[in-house]
Amino acid sequence: MEQHVQKQPDSPVPFFLWRHLNTVRRLVLLLVFCLLILLPYISLYQNFVAGHAYDLLTPHERRIYDVMEWLTAPIARSDPANNLNMIKGNTWSGTLFGLKLSDPLAVVGQVAAQFKLYWPFLLTALLPVGLTLLLGRFYCGWICPATLLYEINDAVRHRLVRLGILAQGRRMDLRLKYGVLAVGVGLSTALGTVVFSAIYPPLIVGREIQYWVTANGVGAGTTFFLLTLLFDLLVARRGFCRYLCPGGALYALLGRYRLVRIQRLVNRCNDCTLCDKVCPFALRPMRDAFGQECNNCTACMAVCPPRALTFRLRIQDQPDQGPGHQGPAHRRAAVRVTAKGEVA
């Protein structure tokens, strides 16, 4: 009689929280985005307080003052002008609890533009670079304020595709973005301006919010950002991040030999290919192909039914491990073997 032999997975269950990291990640993205909206208002409020200006404010400014006073009361206590300085700026460059941080792309662009090494500025990128060496493109998945908008855009796109309104996106060459990075560096040198600051979505998002709140309104950056959203909708899924973003290119290069990687436990995998479908960057977890593009967003971990994906500390991906041991291919093989009367 044919018996259904199935190997029990001998690898341990991955840590239970890792299934929920994707939710945590979305919350982090939301937090960063909300902070980017709040910070300019906090700065405004601090300036109003420092200027003892409440009686001189317009009704609109007075509303900002009141709301911010209410929001920041627990942190600001009695001295908002000095107690609210812990976070300033945006993801391109800013201060986090007294530590100045900058995007490595800002440093690359600025060095290319002015051909001078200004050490205090170079050092601000030290921590991001170090983290990227360990974690790869984590900035793209976990911090970048544009990613939140791109993911919302992607969800809309997914529904439109299912309704048949939009076509499936096309695949392009992932190496295009390294070209964009190289051309950007070259143009920065040639023109003497940091051209990335005009086309880098996370900076555009942060800065346009700030322009909207504290300066002279949104500008060309918004138009550019909307165009990238259109590109994602009409041309390729998450196309800007995957094919064109110069920051993504830099982070991918830095994270080529990152230490923290998602890996497939072939013993637990059942070949359902959900991870391949859900990956926003169209990587192939089923083929153990993460490469330097993976930004550890853990979307694949969240959907994997047999919990076959886990984090490992390695500097390279495993070579393709073949079909999962819980999958139909293995099941068929097991059935064939038992039909011959041998022990599977």
């Binding site: 600025q110 051909f115 392009m172 295009l176 940091v194 600051s197 002279n216 060309a220 550019f224 165009l227």
Partner: protein
């Protein structure tokens, strides 16, 4: 790669590049006069003297504008050409109060920490054919009262009662331009290198260079300066 795929990708990339050019490049091509416009605004205090060096050093993070206590710092849009996203101060709208916050937060060497009195944004010049005390239309002194530097920058000379004169200590912050009650804004900020000044001496009329800030530099005769696009005209100030 197949030719078909390659052509498709080429088309997509070309479309994106063209799209990217729309907010930046094409707008500049279509409005060439914007490129030819002279340097009309001041850089924030502590900015590198050479404007090209400043543009090279500035990464366009916008921190200086965020922390500016009076929101004097604005940013060039695409009309600024290669100055896009770099900060400027338009003293006709809002002058710098020399709080030094922007210099503190600037991550690069674009704005370097400079003591208040060594800031060199420019130097103020007073149009004596418009300034109320200079044309004997009253007593004012708003500029001298508000100057964040003080008596070394702008003062009244003896026997010229309430007639302000700019001295060597002026750093060009532009607060006087902002507060001047005359509708034609008779004070303008000129480039420092162009001005021949003597310490504690009145700058002769003949030494006045062309205005750096045309919107503030209209000479006298009660002609109101044109407000910037989007700027609400100031409430009328009654001369006294």
């Amino acid at each position: 790669m197949e030719r078909r795929t390659f052509l498709q990708q080429l088309t997509a990339t070309a479309a994106l590049v063209a799209g990217a050019a729309t907010p930046y490049g094409l707008a500049r091509v279509m409005t060439p006069e914007a490129l030819a416009a002279p340097h009309t605004h001041l850089r924030p205090p502590g900015a590198l003297r050479d404007d090209n060096a400043f543009i090279e050093a500035c990464i366009g993070c916008g921190l200086c504008g965020e922390v500016c206590p009076v929101q004097a710092i604005r940013f060039y849009g695409r009309e600024g050409g290669n100055k896009v996203n770099t900060p400027y101060i338009n003293p006709a709208k809002k002058g710098c109060i020399l709080s030094g916050r922007c210099m503190e937060v600037c991550p690069t060497n674009a704005l370097t920490a400079t003591p208040k009195r060594e800031v060199a944004m420019g130097i103020a010049q007073i149009d004596r054919s418009a300034c109320y005390p200079w044309v004997d239309r009253g007593v004012c002194g708003a500029c001298a009262n508000v100057c964040p530097v003080g008596k070394e920058a702008i003062t009244f000379v003896f026997a010229n009662f309430y007639r302000p004169v700019v001295l060597k200590g002026c750093v060009g912050c532009g607060v006087c331009v902002e507060v001047c009650p005359h509708p034609s804004r008779p004070i303008r900020i000129a480039e420092r290198s162009l001005v021949q000044y003597a310490p504690a001496a009145i700058i002769p009329e003949s030494a006045l260079p062309p205005a750096v800030n045309p919107s503030a530099g209209v000479t006298g005769h009660g002609v109101p300066a044109q407000p910037e696009a989007g700027e609400t005209p100031r409430p009328g100030v009654v001369p006294f």
